[in-house]
């Protein structure tokens, strides 16, 4: 059987689709896959660079969504945000499985010695050399941190929304973002010192 849906024409909102699925129309789940499949792929693809692995992660994500659909609570978040929460955890789970060790608790080190002004200056310097260093410095961060940065800077999601997606507190996320700015600043300085650009 082929599952083909033209969402633009059907125009059925997510909640109605979910209601139908929960009512027994399993095939309606294809609408959600069609609607959000590529968006989920683009999110997990930021940390899982192999297209095959990324696609498998999307598949795992949607299976998890299907299995937990009845627990979706629209009063807490939109379906899209809830889906991103599952995508976030599915991607991290896959990465942890790959490296064979949990990376649940990301390391904190004291970066109080780095002035805010240094971080402001470096993270606003768009010279090709600095952009290249920044690219390398981001690559050295944990997957959790890279996803956090992309949710904040690329998707422009609110801290509240990111807190829902990542199951962190808003206070934690604010301090983590400030810490990450300084961490990037420190790494750039180190890379500059080592001449790795």
């Amino acid at each position: 059987m082929k599952y083909i849906y033209d969402n633009k024409r059907t125009g059925i909102d997510d909640e109605s689709v979910i209601g139908s699925i929960l009512g027994g129309r399993k095939e309606m789940f294809g609408i959600l896959v069609d609607r959000y499949g590529n968006e989920v792929l683009h999110t997990v693809g930021r940390v899982i660079t192999s297209p095959e692995d990324a696609e498998e992660t999307v598949q795992d994500c949607f299976v998890a969504v299907y299995r937990n659909l009845a627990s979706f609570d629209r009063t807490k978040a939109s379906f899209r945000t809830w889906l991103m929460r599952i995508a976030y955890y599915t991607a991290l789970k896959r990465l942890r499985g790959k490296c064979g060790a949990p990376v649940e608790e990301v390391e904190w080190e004291s970066l109080d010695h780095i002035p805010d002004a240094d971080a402001d200056m470096m993270l606003n310097d768009s010279s090709p050399r600095r952009l290249s260093l920044l690219n390398n410095a981001i690559a050295l961060l944990s997957a959790d941190d890279r996803l956090l940065l992309s949710l904040y800077y690329h998707d422009d999601r609110s801290i509240r929304e990111i807190a829902f997606i990542t199951s962190r507190t808003e206070g934690y996320l604010r301090s983590r973002l400030q810490w990450l700015r300084k961490k990037l600043c420190q790494t750039i300085k180190k890379l500059e010192h080592e001449g790795k650009e």
Binding site: N38, L41, P51, V63, M122, N124, S126, L131, I138, Y153
Partner: protein, 186 residues
């Protein structure tokens, strides 16, 4: 209109992250992805409807067993910590409003410490996060605090909370919670 998130502006950082995200946008789901996925969903046992927990595989059973073991250990430590406080004086000087035995029944439970000594609190918390405690210049046994701990949250969150108390400075380094006193300016 949606306002851009700001950590100052961080234009360069934003630009690099946008470029990386654009690379991911080059990915496309392969042809027939939806069909394969729907097939997998159709193949799920009927006993696995939405919202009900899937049948646990062996590794999940092991994880649950490990979680229960951790819960038992933590509740024991919490009970011991509270017991010490309640039995150490003529009258109870502090209470933990959460029933001690309930501390780790729920992984995300919130524990309320009321007037407990700092070392008792840290005894419970450090065991949960598998940390050692190193106290410098603070009478942790006589310092009594009232605070709340969400044991489902990272340790850093609880440390932030404790650092809001005047005169205390806690840091988490090298698997150890360091507790130091800081001078309070008037």
């Amino acid at each position: 209109m949606k306002e851009k998130n700001k950590c100052s502006d961080d234009l360069a950082l934003r630009r690099v992250i946008d470029e990386q995200a654009q690379r991911a946008k080059g990915m496309k789901l392969s042809e027939g992805f939806a069909d394969r996925l729907m097939q997998e969903i159709n193949d799920l046992p009927e006993s696995e409807p939405m919202g009900l927990r899937p049948k646990a595989s062996v590794p999940i059973v092991r994880k649950i067993a490990a979680a229960i073991a951790v819960a038992v250990v933590i509740s024991g430590i919490a009970y011991a910590a509270c017991h010490v406080i309640f039995s150490s004086g003529d009258a109870p000087v502090g209470t933990a409003t959460t029933a001690c035995a309930d501390v780790a029944v729920e992984a995300d439970s919130v524990v309320s410490f009321e007037g407990l000594s700092l070392d008792s609190i840290l005894g419970v918390v450090s065991a949960h996060y598998n940390r050692s405690v190193c106290v410098r210049g603070v009478a942790a046994d006589s310092l009594r605090l009232t605070t709340v701990w969400d044991c489902g949250q990272p340790l850093s969150v609880f440390i932030e909370t404790l650092n809001e108390f005047d005169g205390l400075r806690l840091t988490d380094r090298q698997d150890t919670i360091f507790v130091e006193s800081v001078k309070v300016e008037d």
